[in-house]
Structures are given as structure tokens and as C-alpha cells.
Amino acid sequence: MNGIAVSTAINGDDIEFLCRPEETLLTVLRDRLGLMGAKEGCGTGDCGACSVRVDGRLVCSCLVLGAEVQGQVVETIEGMASGDSLHPLQEKFLEHAALQCGICTPGFLMAAKDLLERNPDPSEEEIRFGLAGNLCRCTGYDKIVRAVQDAAQVMRGDAA
């Protein structure tokens, strides 16, 4: 087979895999590495359910080739909690009932984490535009925005 050998770091672990040239990062994560937290909602970059970070940049993993992550650092939803303790965003999504079916949740969490790391104190509008690349069909976004606002406050260390 014409597999390409790729060495990368995923959620802090060194990982090596073989993939075909046309295989997307999403397919590699899900089908080759068993990291199924990234979801395929569209495969065309329109829904954000497959969001991950590559070298600190938020991407739709359905639009990135697996071979492209050679030598890069990949972060997925599976690496968001540290051990037993959830990330404040994960806590707040649960507390605010910011998910119904939950299929969009990994993508939203990755996008929100990326947003808050770039902008720790976003306005409601900045949150809404920051998350506009992620589709949620269940919640109407209200509780998602509130969860992100609340998590931002916790992450800044402001008194609640």
C-alpha cells in the first residue's frame, strides 16, 4: 500500500501512524487511532463537529489531511480533561445543560477552549461570532453561550 508514515504528538503522546495520501485527519483519528470524540457531521467544513487543534490552531479535521500533521502537535477532545478533573468548560457545559444530544459538544468545547485562550474575557457577541463555525441543532445556543461566559469567568479566576 502507498501508506505515508506520520509521526505526531496527540494530546501529549507521541503517536505514529500510516495513512493513505487522501485520508483526512478526521478519518485517521476516528478509524486508525480510535479517537472518536471528533464527529463527522458534514465532511465539508460546515459544521465544526470535527474541530481539533493542530499546532495551536483550531481546524476542521475533515478538511486537514492526515499526512499534514507530521511533526505537529494535535489536541483533541480526549485530551481536554486532565485525568479525573474536567476542564472548566466541560464542567460548565454540564452545569448549564449546554448539551442535549451532545453530538456537537466535543466540537464546541474545542472551539470554546480555543476562543478563551485567545480572548479570556469575550463579550456575548464575541462568543457568538467565535462559535459561529459550530452548528448545534438542539439547544438554540442560549445555554452554550451562558456556559462559555461562566467558564470564562472561572478561568479568569474572577469571583463568581
Partner: protein, 753 residues
């Protein structure tokens, strides 16, 4: 739960609280397994070949080249899915939709499928299948299809024939509802408004595409892992279509990434099973987003005429609606549901509705959250808004004057029991949003909505663990957090803490039949069965306590999660906790459990009212939602955060439909926007916060007063947004979605005329 002796009001300790959901951690860490997140050993990849034509006779299919390709393990066509329907026309239609038998009836209709060792091979094999089509004339518009000259979409099952020309029509069914004499009613009215409306077709738009893994063994047994709203129904239909014994097919519902009615029907599952049967290996079949749009159930496009007459005081004297719904190539109930719900919010002396299902060359219509009701409400509530304008009356006051109350005869027949529309309107009236002043180009719209809700077959099991915790197994698929609601109910009834109960969804081999999670029945029905199952378990717990104490069971009561001995003789014994009784179970009679198998009755209908504030840009026709309020009667909110979530989510789906979402068909009958880029659902930046008020008028048919809440929220938005835009622009909107070009055209048109 206690009844307050003074007020006679139920007091709850768990129900009505907002704990973290029990399946939550898996879902925020990426561990929850949805349809596509499961694999079986040796599984193949299945792919489906779909018709590029809206209507075509399949003259022949040559699969030989695909079969010869290395790595291809099975290729199937309709010939591999023989007719086991035994004359059941409905079942045959489902089979025909899963795999076209003689004709492709819409763009995207499945005609063949392959299973191969990997996706690349399967895709290559699809390209090698040769289908010889004879392209036929098609019709995708509801009103066009109704003309008797239009092409007939489905010749055999057509149930209406033109009496003059004796030719089949595309009308599948006509249903009529009402009472009184509408002509006499119109003659009495001081003002009559009559208008026609059109609603384009929208899709449920669940973010998770259909996906399943099917495994059929040589001995006739099978397993199906699938994202579905109803694994029991899927089992029955799949087994029937494949000629299998129902009990030999075990169906497990995965976590489900949204359904909204779209995952109540089988599409790819029988195909996956047939592929697996032929290949002798498990097959995973996942739809692409394009396949979801082209081939799975959108809701009906519709065309509606409404005529309402009122007195000068704003009392409706007569009302009439003629509602035409597209049902795809197969039969539907959509006209009936539209005709039943159109005037359900109002107490009307003379009322008549006619609902028609029209066959068209579009995908088979599936339910979409309160199916048919949103567009019926769009038409009716728009006319009411215009009447309010013409009478110079507050539109809310107009609704008060006509609202149905306890004992009102509904427009579709039955008499309402305890209902909450007036309470909903009261809550709207006192809401601060009504007092926010509006600026130029801004408008406020109000609309009401109704949905029946349903009950149905339900089955649950409660097992007490050795440590006094409980596992509740339910069979209604949890689409939006209902497992947590069930844990709250079980905790309430048992008198223990929420975190001591874990609710899981049983597969089809674990529980008796459960109807599909649809019709807002999940929480209503399963909570009823849960309460029964807990009561039965409490009976066993009392017996075991009696045994431990060696006293008659009649002297044991259950209170606050403990057995307590009563009466003069034993009343001073210390209580026995659930944990203490559970620990002794091996010595007192074995496992402790409770079951319930019911047909849930006593359904409580649900009413809602929405207020929408918009600003319309007169240059572009673009609409911005400024504020949005949902008020709805929940009967009793078990987990209020998730009830609010249903209100908000339904409202936003309705807003999307009102402003953007539509299927666009070309003259060639092909769907032109089968993707999220061109079929635009609302994103975060399109919206404000969605305000909610939960009104609670308990449903007397349920032990806690629960009403279904999932569907009513999508009923008012089309009308609420349309009324807001109409008031902002001074031009009555009659066609959804009210996308910028359509609004602009309406404004231009109004200038000309």
C-alpha cells in the same frame, strides 16, 4: 412526593431540580458512542448508489463489474430485498423507499448498494455499477402535482382518481375536520380576511448523519447497532422487510445525535442488514451529509388557504383552512395533522379544515417535530395578526378572546380537559419584553401553537443493587437528556437521592416493546411506567422488611427511602433503609426489582405562545432577531433546564425555517443545496438569548402532572417571525422562509401595487 395537607399541592424533593445529567461526562469527554462510533470484528464498509433522476424507470442494473472488483464482498439491488410485505402496502412502500424496485421516485433514491473491505474500494465499486434509466417526467411542486395533468408519482398506491377523466391523481388522502356551519358563520361576521400561504420544505438537520452497523448470521439471527429514535420499531420493520423473526434481531440504540422525527423511519438499516446477509460479515453504513439531505425525511412543503371571519369585538365566528402538504412519493398523514392542528388553539363555533397529502418527486416526508403544525400555524396566526391590525386590537387580546379553555370543543373533535393556554397568555401578558419600545424598521410578532402529544406502549424495569442503589432500564430512546429526568422520577418515588439512581436505555432483548420516542412521549410515558415500576419494587421492599422484622407486611409502610413499621405493636422499631434491606436480599427472597408494562394514557396536550422582536433592513431584506420569548405549559417540569432547552431549541429550529431553510429544486428535479453551506441552519451569531417561561398547569392524566414538551416549541415561530416582519415592514409576509431576497421582493412588490 408529598401532598401538602393544606393546599393539596404536590410537593417534590427531586422533581423540579436541575442536577447534572448522568450521561454528561461521557458526552463532554468524547466517550459517548453514537451511531458511527461503533465497530464489529471483520466489518465491511457499505455504500449506497443513488438515483440522479427525480423520476425514472429502472430498465436494468448491471452489477457484474462491481462484483468482480477485488475487495468487494456484496452488491445488492432490490432483487436482494424480496417482497415479504404480504400485501401490506405501507410496508412495501418502506421497502421501495429503502431500495427502488421498478422506478426511482426522487433524486437520491437508493438503487443499489455495495459492501467492501474499505471505503475506497466500495466507492470504486459504486462507480462500476451500470444502471439503465428511462427518465420520466417529474413533479416537485405541491400545487403543480395537484393539477390532474401533472405526472403521476406513484401509480399503484394512488388512492384518489379524477372522477371526470378517470385518471389517477397525486392526491394520497383527504381529511376533513370541523363542526358548525362555516357559511352561516361567515355571513354573520363583521370582518373576513382570506389569504394564501406557502411554506418551503425544511429538513430536521440533526448534526449526526444516519449510521448503523449490521450483522446477520447464517443461522438467521442478527444484531443491529443504530442511531434511532425507536429501536423497537426499527427491529419490527427491519425484521419484516428482511423476512427474519422479530425476536432473532437484536437492536441496540446508540447515543443519538439529534432526530427531531427524522430518525423514526428506517432508510439505510434494511440495506445494511441485506448487505451483511449477502456478504456474511458485519457491515457499517454511514450516510454522508449530502445523502442525509437528498434521501432522508425532510418535512412537507405546503400550500395553504385560510379564511377567518370575526365580529367587531374580535370573536371568531367562522374559520376555514384548506391545507396541501407534500408527502414525497409515498403515503403520508401530514395533511391530516395540519388540518387537526390549524385551529386547535381557538374555541370556534363554525370551523372546517381540509388536509390533503400530495405525492411529489421528493424524498419521503418524515415527521419533523410537531409535523405539519408549524406551517398551519404560520397561515392561521398570520391571518389572525392581520385581523388584529384591521380591528386595531392588541393581538394578544384577540387571542384571549378566542382561546380554548377547559371544556372547549376542539376544532378537530374532542373536548379539551385541563389545558393551559389562558395561563400561557397571562404569562406572556406580564412579561417585560412586551414593554420594550420598538424603533423604526422593528416589529413585534406574537403567535400561539398547539401539539397533541402521545402516550403509547412503554416498559421499564427497576433493579435494586446490593448497596441500595437502583438501576432503571427504560426503552424510550433518550434524545435530549430524558435519562436524567427518569432518574429524578425514580429517586422521587423511592425517596432516595438522584445520584443513587442510574438510568440506562435497554436494547430490544432487554425490555418488552417500547414505542418510538416521538410525539413528545418519551418523558411522559416512561415516567409513568417508572413510577409504576418503583411502586412495585416498593411492594417487594416492604415484604422483605416485614420478613426481616417477622411482622405482617400490612404493618410496614415506605417513607423517605425507608421501611417503617407502624401500629401499636411494632411502631417503635427503628426504620430499615433501602440499603439495609438490599443487603439482606439474598436471604429474604433474592433480587429486588419492579417492572411496568403499560400503554400510557392520559396524555396532556400542550399549548405555547411566542413573542418575537425583529429588525428588518429595508435595503437588503435581511432580518435580525432582537429578542425572543417562549412561554409554554409543561404540566410539570421534571428537569426544568432540559425543558427550557426544548423550548429554546424548538424555537430556533422554527426561526431557521422562518428565515432561511429551504430545499431548492432545479427544473431537472434535482436538489441543489444538499449541504450545510447552502442549506443554512441558524448559527450562534444569528441569534439573541432565547427567553423562556415554563407555565405549569398539571396534567391530571399523569401522576406528577407531566405533559410532553418537545414539539410545541417549533409550532409558533414561523408565524411569530412572520408577524414581526409584517409589522416591521408594513407588508404581509405569506411565504416562508422569509429569506432576504424574498422579503426584498415582497417590499418591492408592495411598492408597485
Amino acid at each position: 412526593m408529598n401532598i401538602n395537607a393544606k393546599t393539596q399541592i404536590q410537593e417534590f424533593r427531586s422533581v423540579g431540580t436541575r442536577p447534572v445529567r448522568q450521561d454528561g461526562v461521557d458526552k463532554v469527554t468524547g466517550r459517548a458512542r453514537y451511531g458511527a462510533d461503533y465497530n464489529m470484528p471483520g466489518q465491511l464498509v457499505g455504500l449506497v448508489l443513488r438515483s440522479p433522476h427525480a423520476h425514472a424507470r429502472i430498465k436494468s442494473i448491471d452489477t457484474s463489474a462491481a462484483e468482480a472488483l477485488k475487495g468487494v464482498k456484496a452488491v445488492i439491488t432490490a432483487a436482494d430485498l424480496p417482497d415479504h410485505a404480504d400485501g401490506d402496502e405501507g410496508l412495501l412502500e418502506i421497502l421501495d423507499n429503502c431500495m427502488a424496485r421498478t422506478k426511482a421516485r426522487y433524486d437520491g433514491h437508493a438503487v443499489a448498494a455495495v459492501a467492501a473491505i474499505d471505503e475506497a474500494t466500495a466507492r470504486k465499486a459504486l462507480g462500476l455499477i451500470r444502471v439503465d434509466y428511462e427518465v420520466l417526467p417529474h413533479v416537485t411542486d405541491v400545487d403543480e402535482a395537484l393539477k390532474s395533468t401533472a405526472n403521476v408519482v406513484h401509480e399503484h398506491a394512488t388512492s384518489r382518481v379524477d372522477p371526470e377523466q378517470n385518471v389517477p391523481l397525486n392526491v394520497h388522502a383527504t381529511e376533513e375536520f370541523g363542526h358548525g356551519d362555516i357559511e352561516a358563520g361567515f355571513a354573520k361576521s363583521d370582518l373576513i380576511v382570506e389569504r394564501s400561504f406557502k411554506a418551503e420544505q425544511s429538513h430536521q438537520g440533526y448534526i449526526e448523519p444516519h449510521a448503523c452497523v449490521a450483522s446477520v448470521n447464517a443461522d438467521g439471527t442478527g444484531d443491529l447497532w443504530v442511531t434511532t429514535q425507536g429501536h423497537f420499531s426499527y427491529r419490527i420493520v427491519c425484521a419484516q422487510l428482511l423476512g427474519m423473526d422479530v425476536s432473532k434481531l437484536r437492536v441496540t440504540s446508540s447515543e443519538i445525535g439529534g432526530g427531531f422525527g427524522g430518525k423514526t423511519h428506517v432508510w439505510a438499516e434494511p440495506v445494511a442488514l441485506a448487505l451483511s446477509r449477502k456478504a456474511g460479515r458485519p457491515v457499517k453504513l454511514t450516510m454522508s451529509r449530502e445523502e442525509v439531505f437528498r434521501s432522508t425525511g425532510p418535512t412537507s412543503p405546503a400550500s395553504i388557504d385560510v379564511k377567518i371571519g370575526v365580529s367587531n369585538e374580535g370573536v371568531i365566528t367562522s374559520a376555514y383552512a384548506h391545507l396541501r402538504y407534500g408527502c414525497g412519493p409515498y403515503s403520508g398523514v401530514w395533511g391530516m395533522l395540519g388540518a387537526m392542528t390549524a385551529f386547535a388553539c381557538y374555541d370556534i363555533e363554525n370551523v372546517k379544515t381540509i388536509g390533503i397529502d400530495v405525492r411529489i418527486n421528493r424524498p419521503k416526508t418524515a415527521a419533523y417535530r410537531a409535523p405539519s403544525a408549524p406551517v398551519a400555524a404560520f397561515a392561521v396566526e398570520s391571518v389572525l395578526d392581520e385581523i388584529a391590525q384591521k380591528l386595531d386590537m392588541d393581538p394578544l387580546e384577540l387571542r384571549f378572546r378566542n382561546a380554548v379553555k377547559n371544556g372547549s370543543r376542539s376544532s378537530y373533535g374532542p373536548t379539551f380537559g385541563t389545558i393551559g393556554l389562558v395561563e400561557v397568555l397571562e404569562a406572556v401578558k406580564s412579561h417585560p419584553q412586551l414593554n420594550v419600545p420598538l424603533a423604526a424598521n422593528q416589529g413585534r410578532g406574537i403567535a400561539c401553537g398547539y401539539w397533541f402529544n402521545i402516550g403509547g406502549q412503554t416498559c421499564t424495569t427497576l433493579n435494586i443493587g446490593v448497596d441500595g442503589t437502583a438501576t432503571l432500564t427504560i426503552g424510550t430512546v433518550d434524545v435530549g437528556g430524558s435519562r436524567s429526568s427518569m432518574s429524578l422520577v425514580a429517586a422521587e418515588e423511592l425517596g432516595i437521592d438522584y445520584d443513587k439512581v442510574k438510568t440506562v436505555i435497554g436494547d430490544t432483548a432487554t425490555l418488552g416493546h417500547n414505542d418510538t420516542t416521538e410525539g413528545s412521549r418519551g418523558t411522559f410515558s416512561s415516567s409513568m411506567a417508572t413510577i409504576n415500576a418503583v411502586k412495585q419494587a416498593i411492594g417487594v421492599l416492604r415484604e422483605r422488611a416485614a420478613k426481616m422484622w417477622e411482622i405482617p407486611v400490612d404493618d410496614v409502610v415506605w417513607e423517605k427511602g425507608c421501611a417503617r413499621a407502624v401500629g401499636e405493636e411494632h411502631g417503635n422499631l427503628p426504620t430499615l433503609s433501602l440499603a439495609e434491606i438490599a443487603k439482606e436480599a439474598p436471604n429474604t427472597g433474592g433480587p429486588i426489582a419492579g417492572h411496568s408494562e403499560i400503554v400510557a394514557e392520559g396524555v396532556g396536550v400542550s399549548f405555547g405562545a411566542h413573542i418575537c422582536d425583529v429588525e428588518v433592513d429595508p435595503e437588503t431584506g435581511a432580518t435580525k432577531i432582537l429578542r425572543y420569548l417562549v412561554v409554554q405549559d409543561a404540566g410539570r417540569a421534571i428537569h426544568p433546564a432540559y425543558v427550557e432547552g426544548q423550548y429554546q431549541g424548538g424555537a430556533v429550529q422554527g426561526i431557521g425555517w422562518a428565515l432561511n431553510e429551504e430545499y431548492v429544486y432545479g427544473a431537472d428535479g434535482r436538489l441543489q443545496n444538499a449541504g450545510f453551506l447552502d442549506y443554512r441552519i441558524p448559527v450562534c451569531s444569528d441569534l439573541p438569548m432565547i427567553d423562556t417561561v415554563i407555565v405549569e398547569v398539571p396534567n391530571p392524566g399523569h401522576p406528577y402532572g407531566v405533559r410532553g414538551v418537545g414539539e410545541t416549541p417549533i409550532v409558533p415561530p414561523l408565524a411569530a417571525v412572520a408577524n414581526a416582519i409584517s409589522r416591521a415592514t408594513g407588508v404581509r409576509m405569506t411565504h416562508v422562509p422569509m429569506s432576504p431576497p424574498r422579503v426584498l421582493a415582497a417590499l418591492e412588490n408592495a411598492k408597485v401595487t
